[in-house]
């Protein structure tokens, strides 16, 4: 697999350059990744469905285009991508990792999928997740967990553990995720990959299976900062089919990432969020974070501590708003028009209402039921003001904290996740412990700010640590520049990318 290995370990931008230079075809890229997928999946389980035939056909169609046609396509044209199974794909099964959607084949494409197809990017398959993107470990998938390539006894994070593991394990150079409370960034941190949550409304949600509509955002997963920037420019920009889509084009993110590679951050003001470090964060995580901050300083950034006093209330507000929206959004799974239908037992009246109740009992897993019930309570008469109303006020306070911090800072930083990857089962019986994984990522969702995680090295346990950058709304490029600079500086000190320490037996080494 040597030639294959060399190919799949390139960045997406490097693959694209080889495609443009005629050194490699899109079909060869697809075949190389399908080969790795076949070898890796028995130990990783990142994919719920591999769309090999469709990917090959898309690659062949791209390769058959004339030079003129190819010249009009985005830079990443011809490079394949994996898609979190929370995003609908016409003709390719889409399940949200739930039994209630098992076997469903959508009759339409999400807007982001249409844009990838128009860009000539073949779709390798659908990646695993916590059921309906609800979880932080991918253990809540109805179809078995995804394993972390760095240690297959450990979780890859969640909910987008499949996309993150696929990219970390070289099964795909790029992937799409969805991030409601950290589901792109936390798996990025735990697998040593880059994960980006764009500004709310920056990427169309049309065709993203709805979890919590005021928080959900589709975003890129990659191994380099520049790759995420290039991908976000393809999927981003206005879409009239999403009423929350910002009516403007994508920001100049790739240019910002390339600017960052010059490693000059003179004049940039970086804010260290006081409430998102220290207590509750593993010493190894904090150590890598502090070293990364020192790198930013070395490159000329002015680093100061800022306080966001309402962030300690973010987790509580999130666990009121998110389940409330979940309980409403998931009411559509009623056994009527698509998905699972389970009729009641014979001794129960065979009514539509009972069919719905037995369908949802059989089709939803524990965590989804927990959130629906909690959300149903939070929205019920008599409790609405105390719970949902209070949470929406906290949301305002958190936005005000951010706005104040951004008066003096260009970008805010924190560790992405308080811990490195944990073992399977470790947090499954303690929902609150599981929820704490997202303590540093949730504020950006509540406030609609763009945020990303980049690798900060390995902790003392040998597992990856993530470094989070948060930028003001609709200024996504502001985080790409320091992220790319940090990536370049850290890789120089490590003598290569973080994944050079990753053992990859599935690549035949």
């Amino acid at each position: 697999m040597t030639a294959t290995n060399e190919l799949v370990q390139l960045s997406a931008a490097e693959m694209a350059a080889k495609v443009r230079g005629g050194e490699v075809s899109s079909r060869e890229l697809v075949d190389a990744h399908l080969e790795v997928i076949e070898a890796a999946e028995p130990s990783i389980n990142a994919f719920l469905h591999v769309s090999a035939d469709e990917a090959r056909a898309q690659a062949d169609a791209f390769d058959a285009k004339s030079a003129d046609e190819k010249a009009g396509l985005p830079e990443l044209a011809g490079v394949p991508i994996a898609i979190k199974d929370m995003i609908v794909t016409k003709g390719i099964p889409t399940t949200a990792a739930s039994k209630i959607l098992e076997g469903w084949v959508p009759p339409y494409d999400a807007t982001v999928i249409e844009r990838l197809k128009a860009a000539g990017m073949p779709i390798l398959g659908k990646t695993n997740l916590d059921e309906f993107a609800q979880g932080s470990s991918t253990e809540h998938s109805a179809f078995g967990p995804t394993r972390n390539p760095w240690d297959t006894d450990r979780v890859p994070g969640g909910s987008g553990g499949g996309s993150a593991s696929a990219v970390a394990a070289f099964e795909a150079p790029l992937a799409l995720g969805t991030d409601t409370g950290g589901s792109i960034r936390q798996p990025g941190a735990l697998t040593g990959t880059v994960g980006v949550k764009p500004t709310y409304g920056g990427v169309s949600r049309f065709g993203a299976i709805a979890m919590a509509s005021s928080l959900d955002q589709i975003g890129p997963v990659s191994r380099t900062v520049l790759d995420s920037a290039l991908l976000q420019e393809i999927i981003g920009g206005h879409d009239r089919r999403d009423s929350t889509s910002i009516p403007e084009g994508p920001r100049p993110m790739a240019a910002a990432a390339r600017e960052g590679l010059k490693r000059d951050l003179k004049g940039m003001k970086v804010g260290l969020v006081k409430e998102l470090s220290g207590e509750g964060f593993q010493p190894g995580v904090q150590a890598r974070f502090d070293e990364a901050v020192a790198k930013l300083t070395e490159m000329g950034a002015e680093v100061t501590e800022v306080s966001c006093p309402h962030f300690p209330y973010a987790l509580g507000a999130y666990y009121i708003i998110m389940p409330s929206e979940v309980s409403s959004n998931l009411a559509r799974y009623d056994g009527m028009r698509y998905g699972l239908r389970v009729m009641p037992p014979d001794d129960v009246p065979q009514t539509a209402a009972n069919m719905m109740a037995y369908t949802r009992e059989a089709g939803f897993g524990d965590e989804v039921k927990r959130r629906i019930i909690l959300g149903t309570y939070a929205l019920s008469a008599g409790y609405y003001d105390a719970w949902y109303g209070s949470a929406q006020k906290v949301r305002t306070l958190i936005i005000e904290d951010f706005n104040k911090a951004f008066e003096t800072c260009d970008v805010l930083v924190s560790p992405t996740s308080p811990s490195t990857a944990f073992k399977f089962g470790e947090k499954m019986d303690d929902p609150l412990a599981m929820y704490m994984n997202d303590i540093a990522t949730i504020p950006a969702n509540l406030a609609g700010m763009p945020a990303m995680s980049v690798p900060a090295g390995l902790s003392d346990d040998g597992l990856p640590v993530g470094f989070q950058l948060i930028a003001p709304q609709q200024r996504d490029e502001a985080m790409y520049k320091p992220a790319a600079a940090l990536e370049a500086a850290l890789e120089e000190s490590w003598g290569g990318p973080v994944w050079q320490s990753l053992k990859t037996p599935w690549l035949g080494e």
């Binding site: 409304g201 209330y313 987790l315 507000a317 998905g339 009729m343 719970w387 006020k393 406030a447």
Partner: protein, 99 residues
């Protein structure tokens, strides 16, 4: 703060149309009490003078161009249905009947 009783969880299951089992009701009762305790602290700072936020990136409402487009075909719309007949979804009866 709220203490969930068994009956309340059963009622919430009815409202959410999930036929929870006895075992699930017992487990949810314990878990939801712990979660509710933790998240109810939002009330400490949610004073009357703070306005609520529903959408973090508020947009002005605007009209999109009124252009006709082709929707899903009937066959596409029915393609995932558990049960169909003569181009329609088939649902169980809506009302229970006493025999």
């Amino acid at each position: 703060m709220p203490t969930f009783t068994r009956e309340e969880i059963e009622h919430l299951g009815d409202l959410a149309r999930i036929a929870l089992t006895d075992e699930e009701i017992g487990r949810l009762q314990g878990e939801l009490n712990v979660i509710a305790d933790s998240i109810s602290k939002v009330q400490e700072v949610a004073s009357a003078d703070v306005p609520p936020t529903a959408n973090p990136v508020p947009l002005e409402a605007y009209l999109r161009p009124d252009e006709p487009e082709t929707p899903l075909t009937q066959a596409e719309a029915l393609s995932g249905a558990p049960k169909t007949e003569a181009g329609m979804f088939v649902a169980p009866r809506i009302l229970g009947s006493e025999e």
